[in-house]
């Protein structure tokens, strides 16, 4: 089969992105199977934390696509956005599953109490559900069917990112440096969007008729 050069680059890029996003998961699985002691004395907590962290990292990576597109003026970046978002949701689902299935072993009353009484768990659950909702509505068919409402719905990635950051910061015992670093990255990503918008508004209002 002969591939056009463009199609080849497209497939190569997508494959690389999938592989990159799957690597942390593959390494965690390998660690569990080959060297569980490398996860430390509390492997369940270590796995839960790592899966949650990778969900957050991939979520922030998903949010770098728009600034990349705006600042490089290449729409090719867009083809990675859904892929990264889906991987972020997958890590979030595994993170949630670790807590529900492995740590609490589906203990209904405990889970219910956690969700009701502990706002950081409520927030984490809401964030995961939001990401799942975005995932199931991410197909091209639904995108077409929902039209403008699809875009409105998918703006929910911003509250989801805030929810993920807040959930992370909220469960830390005392040292907030790591969650604040991720929050700063998020603020930077938002600032890059706004900066581009005001940059364009000031210098080239004529070339931006549509919304982004």
């Amino acid at each position: 089969m002969v591939l056009s050069r463009q199609r080849g680059t497209y497939l190569l890029g997508k494959t690389a992105a999938h592989l990159g996003a799957a690597t942390p998961l593959a390494l965690l699985v390998l660690q569990v199977l080959q060297r569980p002691e490398s996860l430390g004395a509390n492997p369940i907590a270590a796995l839960t934390d790592q899966l949650g962290l990778w969900a957050l990292r991939l979520l922030l990576l998903t949010l770098t696509i728009t600034p990349l597109r705006l600042w490089t003026q290449h729409s090719a970046w867009l083809r990675y956005r859904r892929l990264l978002g889906l991987w972020a949701a997958a890590y979030a689902a595994l993170h949630l599953l670790m807590y529900v299935a492995v740590d609490q072993r589906f203990a209904g009353s405990v889970l219910l109490e956690d969700v009701i009484k502990r706002p950081w768990i409520t927030l984490g659950l809401a964030t995961a559900l939001l990401l799942l909702a975005l995932s199931v509505t991410s197909t091209r068919a639904l995108m077409r069917r929902l039209g403008r409402r699809w875009q409105t719905l998918h703006y929910a990635i911003y509250p989801a990112a805030v929810g993920a950051l807040w959930h992370y910061a909220w469960q830390v015992k005392k040292d907030l440096r790591a969650p604040l670093t991720y929050a700063a990255l998020f603020v930077l990503l938002m600032a890059l969007r706004l900066a581009k918008r005001s940059f364009r508004a000031r210098f080239a209002p004529a070339i931006t008729p549509g919304r982004t």
């Binding site: 080959q34 060297r35 492997p43």
Partner: protein, 317 residues
């Protein structure tokens, strides 16, 4: 008066060192052959116990029925913010601590006071081994064979006056030896305290070793408190001061977040931490598929309950 335990200890419940060292050797040999090279290494202490041997007879009145954790678990999973806030940090960073020479100051409402070289302070006290459960406020637990002596014995030596209602323990403050103190994550130095009747309870223990060795730095070398019925943060590490006080000392975690951490910090499944449940705990070392374990009042040391008669433990958490 005799000292009763929930269950009689059995010598067979404790894995002899030679056997578990051998298990560890077999394990590491297996693992070296695995595809381990690409897996990021985390902090690792030696698999086998290290440090100077510190033999001491086991006191059979104080032996938890659960099997002790491995040396690696106990010495690589630590909360000791003086060396970093991650639980793998102390094992990595505590090499800068110099546990010798060491001196301890005894002060406050006592007839005898002064600063003592650690050896002089320890000399009159015969060492013994006790296997205690440890319950962290973060809802995980371990079982650790400590070596040390009853805190009550030391307190008696210094003859506290009738004004001595509390005992405060202060950790070393030295950002050169304790790099974590360069951050403002807690108010340094770390201070913990007990009511004098708690401090003189037979369970309250001063430890200088674990697993038959002197305390490794990350475990609070060279002298630390062990209060097994309270959350782990009450057990101050690397102690340089012991003060007898008329009023309760301002303890570090209670100052840092009074809503979440109280002065008493007794293990209590009925009083949740504001952000997580204290009903169950994750037993460290039980493996990936072990269920959580129910947490018991006073971490199973129900003999201390009489210290708190008439107190509302939800208020005095």
């Amino acid at each position: 008066m005799g000292y009763r335990r929930d269950t009689e200890p059995k010598a067979c419940e404790i894995t002899p060192e030679a056997i578990w060292q051998e298990r560890r050797q077999v394990l590491s040999a297996l693992l070296l052959g695995g595809a381990s090279a690409i897996i990021s290494p985390t902090a690792h202490a030696d698999a086998a116990p290290s440090g100077r041997l510190l033999p001491a007879p086991r006191n059979p009145a104080f032996v938890a029925q659960e099997p002790p954790n491995s040396w690696v678990d106990a010495t690589t999973y630590n909360n000791f913010y003086e060396f970093g806030t991650d639980k793998s940090d102390p094992a990595r960073n505590a090499g800068t601590l110099r546990p010798a020479p060491w001196s301890v100051t005894i002060g406050g409402e006592a007839q005898l006071r002064g600063t003592f070289a650690l050896d002089d302070l320890l000399k009159p006290h015969p060492l013994e081994e006790r296997i205690y459960r440890l319950r962290c406020v973060e809802a995980w637990s371990m079982v650790i064979p400590w070596i040390g002596f009853p805190l009550a014995a030391l307190i008696q030596r210094f003859k506290p006056t009738s004004k001595a209602k509390y005992v405060a323990f202060t950790t070393l403050q030295d950002p050169v030896q304790m790099p974590g103190q360069r951050s403002g994550v807690l108010d340094w130095p770390y201070v913990e305290g007990l009511r004098i009747d708690e401090a003189t309870h037979p369970l309250a223990f001063l430890a200088v070793g674990l697993y038959g060795r002197v305390l490794p730095n990350q475990s609070g070398a060279p002298l630390r408190l062990v209060v097994p019925w309270k959350y782990g943060f009450k057990s101050a590490k690397s102690i340089v001061r012991i003060d007898f006080l008329e009023h309760a000392p301002k303890t570090t975690w209670a100052v840092s977040n009074p809503r979440e951490y109280g002065f008493y910090a007794n293990v209590n499944p009925a009083v949740d931490h504001p952000r997580w449940s204290q009903k169950t705990e994750r037993a460290i070392g039980a493996g990936l598929f072990a269920p959580r374990r129910a947490t018991r009042p006073f971490n199973g040391y129900s003999e201390v309950a009489s210290l708190y008669t008439g107190m509302d433990l939800a208020q005095w958490f």
